[in-house]
Symmetry: C2
Subunit: 336 residues, 2 copies
């Protein structure tokens, strides 16, 4: 019998329909098996020596004496060459009859996480990955200083099926002049839950997940990684900090390193269990430059792309998850 489960923050139902349930290796598709890659690709715009193929960098971690736009860096942030949004002008919606339009004001950056073409977040040395995550934070910090921006999203597309057009390891960052629907629904949901229960919903979720234990993937001193009870897709994982901190931008260095370690561990488990599947991850952080501080807790959501959203999901907004969250978590813990 299929089951419906509610996300207590957004109040969205997900269907857990395990009639067609599959074990991890059943999800594997031949065309998703990554072919061996070289550590340097001559035509890759993100590889060392090809710095001129990207727009001029906005920030880089590089060796002392190394010049901008040239080798010697270990993490590099550049504007997206084909930006969804452009950092000029002001967000001023104007009516066009019944519609509204505005200039597409925003910033769209790429964070090149390593000079090595064939590494991944799961395979790069821990120290390198910590540096990549340090750059995530530095760019978020830089962009929220622009008062035109109200919301930031750091995300990563891994694999062609997940929307990645270049295979060299990279994340993306967008700054938006408005709070988009997904983040607004988190803000609204947190406020509603607190008003009804006099408690932060993340605190309530963490308490229950630790009490039940069946959906835990990994517990670290400052973070818990778990498959949410209301997961919309197979092997979805949330990494939630124990401290109720609204802004990832404000996380201290050692906690940020601990977060990078937890995230790397979870991505290694996902790669091991699902044979390097395509995935997206999204780092949600509180709206910025708001009149009043909003209640929020930053967190990261990993959504493997193992199934296809079709007419049902697009037309209803309800996810169909064919692997029980408890099963996903058990596999990810390595208990087969």
């Amino acid at each position: 019998m299929p089951e419906l489960r509610l996300n207590p923050i957004t109040r969205e139902w997900a269907v857990i329909a395990t009639e067609r349930s599959r074990r991890p290796h059943d999800f594997k598709k031949a065309d998703e098996t990554p072919a061996p890659k070289p550590d340097h690709a001559p035509t890759c715009p993100f590889c060392t020596g090809n710095e001129a193929m990207t727009p001029p960098e906005v920030e880089a971690f590089r060796e002392p004496g190394a010049q901008p736009e040239s080798p010697g860096w270990w993490v590099r942030a550049v504007p997206n060459k084909f930006p969804a949004l452009a950092p000029e002008g002001v967000f001023q919606p104007q009516p066009v009859g019944v519609y509204l339009r505005a200039e597409g004001v925003g910033t769209h950056e790429v964070i090149i996480e390593t000079p090595l073409h064939n590494h991944t977040p799961a395979t790069m040395p821990a120290e390198q990955w910590r540096e990549a995550v340090r750059m995530y934070q530095r760019r978020l910090q830089a962009l929220c200083r622009d008062s035109r921006y109200k919301s930031l999203l750091l995300f990563r597309n891994e694999g062609r099926t997940a929307g990645a057009s270049l295979e060299h390891p990279h994340a993306q960052l967008v700054a938006l002049p408005f709070v988009p629907p997904v983040i607004q629904s988190l803000v609204d949901g947190i406020a509603r839950y607190r008003a009804e229960h006099h408690k932060d919903p993340f605190e309530a979720i963490l308490e229950q997940e630790h009490r039940e234990g069946v959906r835990l993937v990994h517990t670290a001193p400052h973070y818990t990684a778990f498959v949410p009870y209301f997961a919309r897709v197979p092997f979805e994982v949330w990494i939630v900090p124990h401290a109720p901190q609204a802004h990832f931008e404000q996380v201290g260095d050692s906690e940020r390193d601990a977060f990078a370690d937890t995230l790397q561990h979870v991505l290694q488990r996902i790669d091991a269990v699902l044979s390097q599947p395509p995935y997206n991850f999204m780092l949600f952080t509180a709206p910025v430059n708001t009149a009043a501080e909003v209640e929020f807790r930053w967190f990261l959501r990993i959504a493997p792309r193992l199934t296809i959203d079709a007419g049902f999901e697009i037309g209803t907004g309800v996810g169909i998850n064919i692997t029980a969250p408890e099963d996903s978590a058990r596999y990810l813990r390595g208990e087969g």
Copy 2:
């Protein structure tokens, strides 16, 4: 410069970012080129003669004297063999600690649109397609008589990339015991627009689209097909009835036939311009069995699957459309 455009009903922004704009033939992928198919496939559960491979039919249009579960039908409705929801029990959400869960109560049917394996909505005879759409309506009418259901969605997945697992022409229908987020946001948006503007937003949209003309795809006596100003994906088309009717279930026979003809024409144009692309379409109709009648207008949304939703779209809820709606419409009108 990218542009932001607002859906006046749901108040969602879409990014129109044509820097990477592509003409129709640039979207074509080799693996999406449909191979020639036979008109009958021995192992296809939806082909004539294989009726025993599906669960027992719930309704069929068949020749006089032909027996159920055997050849002689021209449209056939059956329960989904792997249903996302099951038609037993009652929807009674129960707390599980901080979460809510409910039995996955619902109905999930498949409408086999023709006995011929290798037809499509674009290629089947107009009369056959009208019969398929007549069955859509009959099944919607039947399911809304079950007072447990609050919302119905008829949808169609065409092509593997769009989530179709069987190639034989078929649509799907789900009945849900609650109003899902996408339909609730239409209901809320229509009410808000009416309260603010004292006008049905669909009427305002139709007036503007006819006045401007640049996004029109096809105009029929009872329907207008257009690419919405705020289209989230390339070549998105809405078919909106001119009459402000809430329920597709209540459309009269001749208007329903005219709708089938309009839909078929648009799908033929999409197939011609984009070489039979994968797509989803969703037929939105008003919530049913509600305490009070809600303001709504049924309509159909076609969303070709030419690009991939990735971290940005999943994490923000904002679409990035790389083809200007005016360009999509021009191509679909055949003006190249």
